[in-house]
Subunit: 225 residues, 2 copies
């Protein structure tokens, strides 16, 4: 009996249609200025139907955001797969994150904005746990990479892997969102190129994490860049 299955397929298709429509609108208007009516119209469904699939505007917003997280995770996994050492993988991670930031700016913005406590208070329990799981996947990934770097003797032994992960992630994300918010503003009023600042900061941080031994090795085998 394939009818059940077909219905199942149609249902997930609907969910996806809604997600695509929502993504378009959220990208263009942001959470605040997007309206459910516009999303419904774009999805060629009535507003009521949207609420059959997502509990609230905020839930829908997070659902779109989570696709972004999945994408980022996939990019991470791919980029680090072919690296030899953990430190090389960490550098690749930084590059990929920067790439994600530039090529999927709207997703990055949603990802960052979704960290607001105010938002999470208005979201269903299920969505929150789903986010939490996705989130954890990425954190574990980074953390384990750093732990491996310590084992391999390239990252300083006196550092706490998770602390390093938090510092790296926080600093990077925060500078990126500063760029996103108004790189031009910084350029014009303070003559600062934030893209350069981001690159320098990453270099500075990664360098400061490494053991003297690893730094020495790096100097003997400079990267292609």
């Amino acid at each position: 009996m394939g009818i059940q299955e077909r219905k199942e397929r149609e249902k997930t298709q609907r969910r996806d249609d809604i997600l695509n429509a929502a993504q378009e609108v959220f990208f263009e208007k942001g959470l605040q200025n997007a309206t459910m009516d516009e999303i419904a119209e774009k999805a060629e469904l009535s507003k009521g139907t949207i609420y059959l699939y997502y509990r609230s505007k905020e839930d829908l917003y997070l659902a779109v955001m989570m696709r972004g997280m999945e994408l980022l995770y996939t990019m991470f996994a791919q980029a680090t797969g072919k690296q030899r050492s953990a430190v090389e993988a960490l550098r690749a991670l930084a590059d990929v994150y920067t790439q994600f930031f530039h090529e999927h700016r709207s997703l990055f913005r949603m990802l960052h904005f979704s960290q607001t406590p105010q938002l999470h208070k208005q979201v269903s329990e299920e969505m929150r746990t789903a986010c939490s799981i996705q989130n954890m996947k990425i954190w574990n990934f980074v953390q384990e990479l750093i732990a491996r770097g310590i084992e391999e003797g390239d990252i300083r032994r006196d550092l706490n892997p998770i602390a390093v992960a938090v510092l790296l992630w926080s600093a990077t994300t925060s500078i990126m969102s500063r760029i996103d918010y108004g790189a031009e503003y910084w350029k014009s009023t303070m003559n600062v190129d934030l893209d350069t600042v981001l690159r320098q900061s990453l270099e500075f941080l990664l360098d400061a994490l490494m053991t003297p031994h690893a730094r020495e090795q790096l100097r003997q085998q400079p990267s292609i860049s």
Copy 2:
């Protein structure tokens, strides 16, 4: 003719009353869930009157936030005034920022939230420039401190003062808002104490900024802590 002056005084008093009422409500509910009606009631004024003094809810929000920035700036100026070297002043700055974070949590939250582009788009031109000026004051303050540290030979000469300022500020703020968002969550799911992470990160960053010479000196004259 003191009438003009009295009226002037009364007007600024009103502005302040409204600000105080708004602060209470925003602290309790956040921007989204606060209503102008509630603010009006708390200020013992009608809603219409509020709009004679502030153009929109968002403007009012930023006005409250800016008092927070002023407070922070004052705390900064005080704390660094009595330090001998720039590096000592920088450490004092970090301590004071942490203190501000803990003692004025709601203001910190507003300060951080006010960095959202979405918010700034809904705010009057005047408010935006006022924010910008206040913002710049703090950035210049930090930047100059770092530049002084370089001159004094305690901070590495190969670093760009403004880049360092951005990195320090971004990393710190981002970790703090992570604590604010849910330190308990991190403790329970990943067994991480984010307060410790913050302290370690600051130590790590400040240490990595310093010249070998300055680090050496520090070891000979350890701080009181």
